[in-house]
């Protein structure tokens, strides 16, 4: 590192011996307004052009893989939901699928209604994650209006998720052997209604993104990732699909209820290989997800939602593949005929995709670095998993649940009571 006192005003700083002369090193992160989570990219820039980018991750590593070895399977479902704040449900589906896959070797089967409920929640999660990404991307390119409006519409999906599961973030819907909560008819009706509204809004945003000049100027021919490179660097999810590589675990390797509607499933790809293509792919995927949810809601079978599973999972090595909103998610489970996993390996889409970012950034302008990084929808908490603090004192914990209307009333009351500053 360069001694700080040696830095002269305005002189280019050559920090490392390996980098070319006449390049600045600009750190992107760990703390940066464009990053919602900590990571670090060392950008070597020549003027405004990025020559090289070196990623460094691990700032939120919490050791969840190690911790998972000490917990039972049902406790682990709760734990893996904490891997990521946004795509939490898909982690628990993945682990449940892995454990149920091991049980299936002995003939255990999960009720179909539970699979449908899981899939519906997973698709709702994809919708809210993609709209969230759209807002963040709009913010990165300085288009705050789209950011605010898209997040307003995301609230519809969040309300639905809260309606079904009682939570906005960690839904806790899954149990080994089924789902923990059922859906009644009024919830289904509300969901159908909201899905129609969401489709309408997303069509509008699609229109905006396809036709708005400044968005096109900022996203077209930025962050180019050619299909060949995408394959070499193991890109997954929307990042790969935006490069024209048609891989989608939901279609290629159907899990839960995805096998049921494989004939109406579309693998969305787009072939301009840049950030614009990512925007288009994500928006269309959101619309598609709404359509799948509507199909599932109309075809959901009756029946039990839960079948009691044995506590001990037989010895097996199960690879469970699922499609998280950001790409392919792997849970590789080694069970050893006890109630705790022997080894649980989680590989998240961001770890596969982070390599592509360096490739996408090279040759681009510094101004594009953040939208390029954001374009893969990075989720660094997913990528880094470690916990060292364990709170042993759970006796005093008290849970108070507020309903949505109570919360709204509280906020309204607070606003009227605090119109002026009080001491």
């Amino acid at each position: 590192m360069v001694d700080k006192k040696k830095i002269k005003v305005g002189s280019p700083q050559t920090g490392c011996s390996s980098c070319m002369p006449n390049t600045f090193e600009i750190p992107l992160g760990p703390q940066h307004p464009a990053l919602k989570e900590p990571t670090h990219f060392l950008l070597e820039v020549e003027g405004e052009i990025i020559v090289n980018a070196t990623p460094r991750i691990g700032y939120v590593h919490r050791g969840i893989e190690k911790l998972a070895e000490t917990k039972t399977y049902s406790a682990n479902l709760t734990l893996v939901e904490r891997v990521c704040g946004i795509c939490s449900h898909i982690h628990s589906i993945s682990l449940a699928n892995a454990a149920e896959g091991a049980l299936a070797l002995e003939g255990f089967e999960v009720p179909m209604r539970a699979q449908y409920i899981r899939t519906i929640v997973a698709e709702l999660e994809r919708i809210h994650s993609h709209i969230l990404w759209l807002g963040v991307a709009a913010h990165e390119i300085g288009f705050d209006t789209l950011f605010m409006l898209s997040w307003r519409d995301r609230e519809l999906t969040m309300d639905l998720l809260e309606d079904i599961s009682g939570n906005r973030v960690n839904y806790a819907m899954n149990e080994i052997g089924g789902s923990r909560r059922d859906m009644n008819q009024s919830q289904i009706d509300r969901m159908l209604k909201y899905m129609d509204i969401t489709i309408e809004r997303m069509e509008r945003y699609k229109d905006i993104c396809l036709n708005e000049n400044t968005i096109r100027m900022r996203t077209q021919e930025v962050g180019i990732l050619l299909p060949q490179k995408a394959r070499e660097l193991c890109a997954v999810g929307p990042t790969a699909r935006a490069s024209g590589v048609a891989i989608d675990v939901r279609y290629d390797d159907p899990y839960s209820a995805y096998g049921e509607f494989r004939d109406i499933f579309n693998v969305v790809t787009y072939d301009s290989n840049d950030v614009f293509s990512l925007v288009v792919v994500r928006i269309i995927e959101t619309i598609e997800a709404c359509i799948y949810i509507k199909w599932m809601l109309k075809n959901i079978p009756d029946g039990p939602i839960f079948k009691k599973a044995p506590r001990k999972v037989p010895e097996a090595q199960i690879l469970s593949r699922t499609e998280a909103p950001r790409g392919e998610l792997i849970h590789y489970l080694w069970s050893n005929n006890t109630n705790k996993p022997y080894r649980l390996k989680i590989t998240t889409p961001t770890l596969s995709n982070i390599n592509t970012v360096s490739e996408m950034m090279k040759g681009d302008y510094l101004a594009d670095s953040t939208i390029t990084l954001a374009s893969i929808d990075p989720c660094f908490s997913c990528e880094d998993r470690m916990i060292t603090v364990v709170n042993n004192d759970r006796r005093k914990a008290k849970v108070e649940t507020w309903s949505e209307s109570q919360l709204r009333k509280y906020s309204n009351d607070w606003h009227t009571a605090n119109k002026r500053w009080k001491k």
């Binding site: 893989e65 190690k66 159907p254 590989t347 390599n355 364990v390």
Partner: protein, 174 residues
Amino acid sequence: MSQTLQDEQNIVDTLKSQFGKKILEAEVQQERRINVKVADPDHLEVLSFAMKKWQAWHLIAISSVDKPDGVIAAVYHFDVRPPFGGQVAISMNLMIDCDNRDNPKLASAYNLINGAEFFEREAHDLMGIVFEGNPNLSKLILPDDFPEGVYPLRKDFLLEIQKEELAKKEKKKR
């Protein structure tokens, strides 16, 4: 397991006839899953063969396991038959044992698939497997000042709660 597993069986048969004794174990685990076990440098041959024959370009992940018998192993997960024209993908778990626990070494797949770099670095950080041929095996996930030679995901690295549990068991025995 009533479904026909013909495609999966074909792949296993092809591998067995191609590599003969180099394949230590090969079985169809369940629908769309194949487990194969080979020795150290052979996994690169299997990979490149699969890449030529089935266009297996999609490396999904690389896992590392500290097996119950004390052997450290790496598992390469890849789509041995990637999806084409609406077919389902078939994925393979290719397991390779390291022969030495203190200094586990494996040949890196970096030259075959560049994307393997980060997966291998992760395994290097957490399980201590040295992938020979990987251009950059510096710390990726753990902090730079993390002690050398300590690998958190090995079974001999104990968390506080694991230590407590062990102590409780000891007490019960007494």
